[in-house]
């Protein structure tokens, strides 16, 4: 995984969010505009240029108790304003494995 520090150099190509895994249980979370973490991508703060991305990331990194390994991830925004993950990795993180899991037993 790319470390946040390396990512600071990266310019973002389009709308992006900051995502991480929640510390206590590991689930996928997104940084919100309210300086909190949410499991809902729809609540993620959207950044559109590198300055904004950097600022959101820095603020997210500072909340180390809340979530770990934050990084900038691309998203797409549909005509209806819905936020969808910008690549397969993020899609899998959001919607889960693509393979079906054994029945819960």
């Amino acid at each position: 995984m790319t470390s946040p520090l390396e990512q600071k150099k990266i310019r973002i190509a389009g709308p992006s969010v900051v995502t991480a895994n929640r510390t206590w249980d590991g689930i996928v979370v997104y940084r919100t505009a309210a300086r909190a973490w949410s499991a809902e991508l729809s609540e993620a703060a959207i950044v559109r240029n590198s300055e904004e991305a950097k600022a959101l990331l820095a603020e997210a990194v500072a909340d180390d108790v809340g979530a770990i390994g934050p990084y900038i991830a691309p998203v797409q925004i549909g005509a209806d304003g819905r936020i969808v993950p910008g690549n397969l990795r993020e899609q899998i993180r959001r919607t889960g494995v693509t393979i079906g899991q054994p029945a819960q037993v």
Binding site: M1, N21, T23, W24, D25, G26, I27, V28, D64, V65, I68, G69, N87, L88, R89, I92, R93, G96, V97, T98, I99, Q101, P102, A103, Q104, V105
Partner: protein, 551 residues
């Protein structure tokens, strides 16, 4: 089975309470993730795409039924009801909550299971043949030596801060089921002309970004000298190993750069200085370990019991028996491999229900013992032949009697992009599709022994380099692309596969494999010529032609 002593138990318990405290401090913010990371890795906890992943060691692949039940319990209570058996005699849980991990560790510690040596730059758990102690013709149970090395290296300072992680595997049979040639150190237990037990020592194997097959560094090291010899290797490695570059820090790179001759000279020099030290192993020490491995009280049973003769009329039973049942060193007994590769299923996954049921079956039919192999399958090591028909029926009900061991659908696959944060592409869905394509048992049998290995990135956890057909997922312009190699193998004749051409897309992989297989069926000289032999005879060209002619 192996009886742990008090020291081990105390150590494991101390680790649990230490980790409980560390987790508490992490959750309160007293420890940062940076500080905590090394601590969690020491306890087998990784961060994956969806959650924390928890890796538990199954030393030399031997499990007692209460241990398997404890794993089932962890899967059920702390995870989503299943676990994933890996190629390193580990089991991984994919959805563990950090806050609950200390409880899970504690539950496992009660049955002597821990997660030490599953991660970090240390000596990883020493792996061995899953048929250890029961394979006909083996020199000696290799786990005795695995255990000796484990005791010596666990938490030994010299082994805890290596330039990189370090893996040892041991085999004691002619047929290498432990893949020793792709380990940092591979040990083959042998006997010299004088009848003394010792090891052929191989060094510098490994896959990943720069794959190497291990080379023999010494043809015979006496058993009593094995610790000093390993220590000498590690000292040379520690002295030269590149800590500055994690890609170059593995011993395989050092051996490659120094050359095996220079490397072995340096080891020899080092060894001469320490071989007569306290590292020399007393016979009593070995005897003590030997005495802790207990074997069942086997009965005197006929070679061909009536039950087996009668069941032979059932073609389904026969298909399974021929595929999954292997000879045992004791007459009247068999080793039964349990395929964790059902059609359409993720390779290596077992549900809590299956684990519990299997524990019951092992109690009933295998003297309470289960084995875990590096092919992501399990085994029951001591099944009386007369019980085979009943066992088969029970396994079949659990979905654990797919007769595909060593066939094309017995696929080794890493978790890939469905779970792994390092992945470039998915592995499991490729495996699932291939198991559907080749689900027909007659077809798979006609093809014969053929191993497919799939990795979702260059770290090669799925051992793609040594697959007869190897599939490596990479990313190209945001898309999953797969590179196909053929002709690799992981056994005593280990070789790296050869790339057959440009990468192919996700949807095309199964078609390409079908083409390769069709080409093989058309090209083989006779049905007994195995895929890898055809590739060896003809090279990759005819396969390449077949695959790319229409693409």
């Amino acid at each position: 089975m192996y009886a742990y002593d008090e020291i081990d138990r105390t150590l494991v318990n101390e680790r649990v309470s230490e980790f409980r405290d560390q987790v508490k401090r992490r959750l309160s913010g007293e420890l940062t993730e940076d500080e905590f990371k090394i601590l969690r890795l020491q306890n087998g906890v990784y961060l994956q795409l969806h959650a924390y992943m928890f890796r538990v060691a199954i030393p030399y692949g031997t499990l007692a039924t209460n241990q398997l039940r404890a794993l089932a319990h962890v899967a059920r209570k702390y995870d989503r009801g299943y676990g994933h058996f890996t190629t390193r005699q580990n089991i991984q849980f994919n959805w563990i909550k950090l806050a609950e991990l200390p409880d899970a560790l504690e539950d496992l510690a009660k049955v002597g299971i821990h997660a030490m040596q599953t991660s970090g730059n240390n000596m990883r758990n020493v792996t061995s043949d899953q048929w250890a102690g029961v394979a006909p013709g083996e020199i000696e149970d290799p786990r005795i030596w695995s255990e000796l090395i484990r005791q010596h290296t666990t938490l030994h300072p010299e082994f805890s801060f290596l330039p990189r992680k370090f893996k040892i595997a041991i085999t004691a049979s002619d047929h290498d089921r432990a893949a020793i040639k792709i380990h940092d150190i591979g040990l083959r237990l042998i006997r010299n002309e004088k009848g003394e037990t010792g090891f052929e020592v191989l060094v510098g194997g490994g896959l990943g970004r720069t794959p190497f097959i291990a080379k023999t560094i010494k043809h015979f090291v006496h058993g009593r000298d094995i610790l000093s010899y390993i220590e000498a290797i590690l000292r040379v490695y520690n002295q030269y190993g590149r800590r500055d570059n994690i890609y170059k820090a593995r011993i395989k790179i050092l051996v490659h750069e120094l050359g095996i001759e220079k490397f072995s000279r340096e080891v020899e020099e080092e060894w001469q200085q320490i071989r007569n030290s306290s590292l020399q192993i007393d016979d009593e020490v070995i005897e003590d370990i030997r005495s802790r491995f207990t074997y069942p009280a086997y009965e005197k049973l006929p070679h061909m019991p009536d039950e087996l003769r009668q069941a032979a009329a059932d073609p389904d039973f026969e298909a399974w028996r021929k595929n999954s049942v292997a000879p045992h060193k004791v007459q009247g007994y068999s080793i039964v491999t349990i395929s964790l590769k059902p059609t359409g299923g993720p390779p290596g996954d077992a549900t809590a229900k299956q684990m519990d049921a299997l524990a019951d079956l092992a109690d009933q039919y295998s003297f309470g013992e289960i084995r875990v192999g590096h092919e992501q399958n399990l085994a029951l090591p001591h099944v009386a032949k007369r019980d085979l028909p009943a066992l088969w029926k029970a396994l079949d009900k659990l979905g654990l009697a797919t007769p595909n061991v060593n066939l094309i659908t017995d696929i080794i696959a890493c978790p890939g992009l469905d779970y792994c944060s390092l992945a470039n592409a998915r592995s499991i869905p490729i495996a699932q599709e291939l198991t559907r394509r080749f689900a027909n048992h007659e077809l798979a049998n006609l093809i014969g022994r053929l191993h497919i290995n799939i990795s979702g990135c260059i770290n090669a956890c799925g051992h793609h380099h040594v697959g007869h057909i190897g599939i490596l997922g990479v990313e190209k312009n945001g898309e999953e692309v797969y590179q196909i190699t053929i002709g690799g193998r992981a056994d005593e004749n280990a070789t790296l596969g050869t790339l057959i051409g440009p990468g192919v897309k996700f949807d095309e992989v199964a078609d390409v494999v079908e083409d390769v297989v069709e080409a093989y069926l058309a090209l083989r000289e006779r049905p007994e010529e195995l895929f890898m032999d055809t590739v060896k005879r003809l090279g990759v060209e005819p396969f390449k032609e077949r695959v790319y002619a229409t693409r």
